[in-house]
Assembly symmetry: C2
């Protein structure tokens, strides 16, 4: 099957390929002495859960060394054969994260080429068949199969429009 | 008319909003002592015309201070009221240009918000109604009105598929 026949699969970075919460918890404890756990922040947006969140993500270097979401590398490697994978990140709000995010992708997902990256301010202008994301604002207006990746900020919301998954193993089962 | 009703207008950066050739000519003369003119490079790709072009565009800072294309600021300001403008740049081949390009947009086109920016490796995945670009590789597969902005690399090519313009004044006349 030629690559032009493949379905286009959009994959989000933060909260899907990037395990961003582990670092949020750590920085919050370092800066406030307060050890939060999942129960404390379930249902809160990131900036509500961690009062310094917007400061952190604005700093050059923040996105350079974040941990990879468990199972994502193996799963995306397989999906990259089957689909036309595009990694798309809402990134232009914080200019200094752009280069960091691309270098992070290169280090951690070297099989994803620069041709497969999109950094934008609004995901609604990207056309594709499937979207994996942890934010309703991206999934709700998407015109195809939508997969909601569970993260603390969305875990309390009951929803039937999107297929919820809790892990990359589940995504693999669903799409391969 | 609500913003959701507006046609989406994609505007390229290099060679359309950014006057990149003036700097290429200057750097080429600095590095080789050879003063090129338009006739020397007409019809050549940028990397064919200037042997150090790929080195220059890879360097952090290169895209930070380039001159603005004459007339583009005034025209885009008007177009930004009439259309949903998205500035889209093939930028992910050179990771260090990403932050530079966004900061340049912020300095030179402050009325274009971060929500209107896309940095990607393939423009074919962006859906829109009109595209202004200087490269056939971007225009040829676009599913809407295509406007070819004359630049040295495309000036010798006879083409009837796209509407050729030589200036931002012409774009303004065409679209407003």
């Amino acid at each position: 099957m030629g690559s032009s026949m493949k379905e286009i699969l959009l994959v989000d970075m933060d909260g899907v390929l990037v395990d961003i919460y582990t670092t949020f918890f750590k920085l919050h404890e370092q800066e406030t002495g307060q050890k939060l756990n999942l129960k404390d922040i379930a249902g809160l947006l990131e900036e509500e859960a961690f009062k310094n969140q917007r400061k952190w993500v604005s700093l050059p270097g923040f996105f350079r060394d974040l941990p990879v979401m468990p199972g994502s590398r193996e799963a995306l490697h397989k999906l990259n054969d089957r689909y036309k994978v595009i990694v798309v990140s809402l990134a232009t709000e914080f200019p200094f994260c752009l280069t960091d995010k691309q270098l992070w992708m290169h280090d951690n997902f070297p099989f994803i080429s620069w041709k497969q990256l999109v950094f934008c301010g609004d995901k609604n202008i990207v056309k594709a068949d499937i979207m994996i994301d942890d934010h309703f604002k991206n999934l709700d207006h998407f015109d195809g199969l939508t997969i909601l990746f569970t993260q603390p900020h969305n875990m309390l919301i009951k929803d039937t429009r999107h297929k919820r998954v809790d892990s990359w193993e589940e995504i693999e089962k669903l799409l391969i």
